[in-house]
Amino acid sequence: MVLKSTSNRWVWILFRLSLTVVLILGVFGLFLWALGKNPLKAFQDTLRLNLLNPRGLSEVVVRMSPLLLTALGVAVPFRAGLINVGAEGQFLMGALLGTWAAFNIAGLPPALHLVLVLLAGMVGGGLWGAVPGALRALGWVNETITTLLLNYLAPLIVGYFVFGPWRAPELAMYPQTPELPVVPYFPVLPGTRLHLGFFLGLFFLGLYAYMTGRSRWGLELRAVGGNPEAARRLGMPVERWLLAAMVLGGALAGLAGVAEVVAIHGRLKMAVSPGYGFMGFLVNWLAFANPLGILIMSFLLAIIASSGFTLQITQRLPYAAVNVLMALILFVVLAKPFRQGVRR
């Protein structure tokens, strides 16, 4: 069988994605209807307040920024055949190390300081990814388990600092750090909360698309993921690639974390992530590491995250109602590999 022509493949991917969306919205509609709400009205309100309204749309994009990066943080290891469930932990560790750099580096021009803070975030996430990566490369522990477990560890470490040594003295009742000194210098689109993180996300998405699709490194990474045995016999350093993929993935998720701290919260606190790492995992598994799919799916999941607030206001539903939606998506995601297995 010859590969489907490129345009056909795109049509197929888009068809699959939209079918997924329709299915999920249908079931969620039933759920709203069962609660005595009018699903059509709810969808309408969500659409009106989040998409057809410039301010709402900009908020959706604000939520999309970390998702792009955490999804890439899952996608890069995915290409090497690794399942990184730990973007949430890597996000938090990025936020933590970025915060450290913001407070502890001094005497530099603000722009340079900002760059170092972002790099520190990437280092934090990268190190948090390096641990499972190294354990996997050594053949000791499966990365799915370690990344998952490290997700439980990261909030405890962040908690230690925001409740303890870094706690802001002036707001002693809240467990959070003082405002980061680099916050005023972080580029934000005037009149919105749309920040540099979004453009970094787009930049890294483009880089990811190019590198995995066209470069030698991407080919090697995908060869390791596609057939590690063959890759090893071809003389590729398979173990090094596994480690590198986890470090890169962790660094991207860590960047999302530090950008979120600087741009949205201004300070480190426990609630910097409403589950962006987990949502990034969903995005990648819906998109199957396809760059365009990641773009579309992070946008969709950002809408869902925003619609949680909309539903709260217009339908008097708790924010947790969108968790039902997320769970539905999770079902579809989990069912997917099975369906693919059947098709072959």
């Binding site: 069988m1 080919l219 045995e229």
Partner: protein, 516 residues
């Protein structure tokens, strides 16, 4: 062999297979096979790998369905659609891979297998029945022992016990001795004898002559999907069985004498030992030299260290003793990457799992041969034009027509996959090509393309190490053939002066079965 012409209807015949034919894509695994098992006999099914022994017993046990032919059990025609049907007829099979749950005890594993395990059962009664059966058949098993603590031989006996307690009277063993060490083999044969004495009928598959001769009552020899004949073990000799297994005459040599004498040594293994991995044998003081312009063959029944040998050459398996030299340099601890870069090409048996990336196109797979040469600007840009040129040239050089470029490797036929691997591996500068069963499972044309490529490599002064089970292939291509058995090189021959009987004897472990 008139005395063996028992009819299927005879009282003594418990299982009768008539005209069993089974075709897999590209292979006729069983070709009108007739087979009878008598009551209370140990019947060895002897033949090389791929002779169709396993297929035959799996048809009997309901795993496969025959395309043609019939099965009679106790004289009655039966339809065995699944192993469940087979078990209901009193058949039981011990597989090569065991189906035990390591964390559970012997008793629990046995209990799980019982067809009618009551919802609540008495562990004590179960243990007692296990102990009784264990004593009755000489299995020496402790019902309370967790399975993970047991040796391979003991685990095999647990499998057997499961079948016995489930009421099996006809027992089938698929290469039972393959995973066993010599004293366990002896123990197993004693169990066979005690079972025979109590009226059980046994079929066991082997490719080792000595085993068949030492413990079977009758021996059926298969070759290339057909039954060559059935002999009484006491009337059989090693000679006669070898001839039945491998054919009468030495394969004709099609190789040219070689335009030049073999050159300097490309690869040398000096006293190489490895550690055993799983049930595979370790290499045991292997000495080997491959010169430029020479094809060296490794003959042996698969699973005797061939794969390990290939892995050692490629640097994938650590050498714990001895040394490896490549082009005169000590390469004992070189990484696969270094070896590949210095010029080792590799053509494996199953390219889809060992050489190509299934999701990649043919062109992408080809590019993996040397990504550095095919990329620019620190690897950020691939030069696909260059890949394409090399791709086409590679095929033309080997006299093959190029495969279409955008086709995904997973959709190629086995023959085309092997062509792709061959072209990729032989397109880069190399000094040694290692073939690990490179023609296994290929159609004749594809297999010949591989063989031709190896002969061309030899002409060009490359070293070739050809690991194969196909004696015909080895003796028609190689300058020298070494025989490997249980990780040791047990003989060396030149094709011109080889005695096929002797090669077969060494391959099947004659003389070293219980020795070593």
């Amino acid at each position: 062999m008139d005395e063996d012409r028992l009819t299927c209807e005879s009282d003594k015949t418990v299982v009768c297979l008539r005209g069993i034919t089974k075709r897999f894509p590209g292979v006729l695994a069983n070709d009108h096979v007739d087979f009878q098992l008598q009551s209370g006999e140990i019947h060895a099914l002897l033949g090389e790998n791929g002779a169709g022994k396993s297929t035959l017993v799996k048809i009997l046990y309901g795993f496969y369905h025959a395309d043609a032919g019939e099965i009679l059990v106790h004289g009655r025609p039966v339809h065995i659609r699944s192993p469940r049907d087979a078990r209901a007829l009193g058949l039981g099979m011990v597989f090569q891979g065991f189906t035990l749950i390591p964390a559970m005890t012997v008793a629990e594993n046995v209990a799980l297998f019982q067809a009618e395990l009551p919802r609540f059962f008495s562990p004590r009664e179960l243990e007692q029945s296990i102990r009784a059966a264990s004593d009755q058949y000489g299995l020496a098993l402790d019902p309370k022992a967790p399975v993970w603590q047991l040796s391979i031989g003991e685990q095999q006996r647990v499998e057997l016990l499961k079948l016995l307690l489930a009421g099996a009277r006809i027992l089938i063993f698929d290469e039972p001795t393959k995973v066993l060490v010599p004293h366990e083999v002896e123990a197993l044969f004693r169990v066979f004898e005690s079972l025979r004495a109590q009226g059980f009928s046994i079929i066991f598959i082997t490719h080792k002559l000595r085993e068949a001769l030492s413990c079977a009552d009758r021996i059926t020899v298969m070759r290339q999907g057909r039954v060559v004949g059935t002999l009484l073990a006491r009337a059989a000799t090693e000679e006669s069985l070898l001839h039945m297994m491998f054919g009468e005459k030495l394969p004709e040599i099609t190789r040219s004498p070689g335009s030049r004498a073999p050159g300097e040594v490309v690869l040398e293994l000096r006293d190489v030992c490895t550690r055993p991995v799983g049930t595979a044998p370790a290499l045991d003081h292997v000495n080997l030299k491959v010169r430029a312009g020479e094809i060296v063959g490794i003959a042996g029944v698969s699973g005797n260290g061939q794969r390990e040998l290939g892995d050692v050459v490629l640097g994938l398996l650590r050498i714990v003793r001895g040394k490896k030299f490549f082009l005169g340099q000590d390469a004992t601890s070189w990484s696969p990457r270094q070896l590949v870069r210095r010029g080792i090409a590799f053509v494996p048996e199953d390219p889809l799992s060992m050489a190509v990336v299934p999701g990649f196109s043919t062109l992408e797979n080809f590019a993996l041969m040397d990504l550095q040469a095919f990329s620019k600007f620190l690897g950020t840009v691939m030069n696909w034009g260059k890949v394409r040129t090399f791709f086409r040239e590679g095929f033309t050089k080997l006299g093959l027509s190029p495969l279409p470029e955008p086709v995904r490797a997973s959709t190629l036929s086995g023959g085309n996959l092997q062509r792709l691997t061959l072209v990729r591996e032989l397109s880069r500068p190399y000094h040694l090509v290692v073939g690990l069963y490179p023609t296994r499972g290929l159609d004749v044309r594809s297999a010949n393309a591989v063989r031709q490529a190896f002969l061309v490599a030899r002409e060009q002064g490359k070293g070739v190490l050809l690991i194969s089970e196909d004696l015909q292939e080895l003796f028609s291509l190689c300058d020298r053939v070494l025989v490997i058995f249980r990780g040791r090189i047990v003989g060396e021959f030149r094709p011109e002066e080889a005695d096929l009987t002797e090669v077969g004897r060494l391959m099947t472990g004659a003389g070293v079965l219980h020795g070593s």
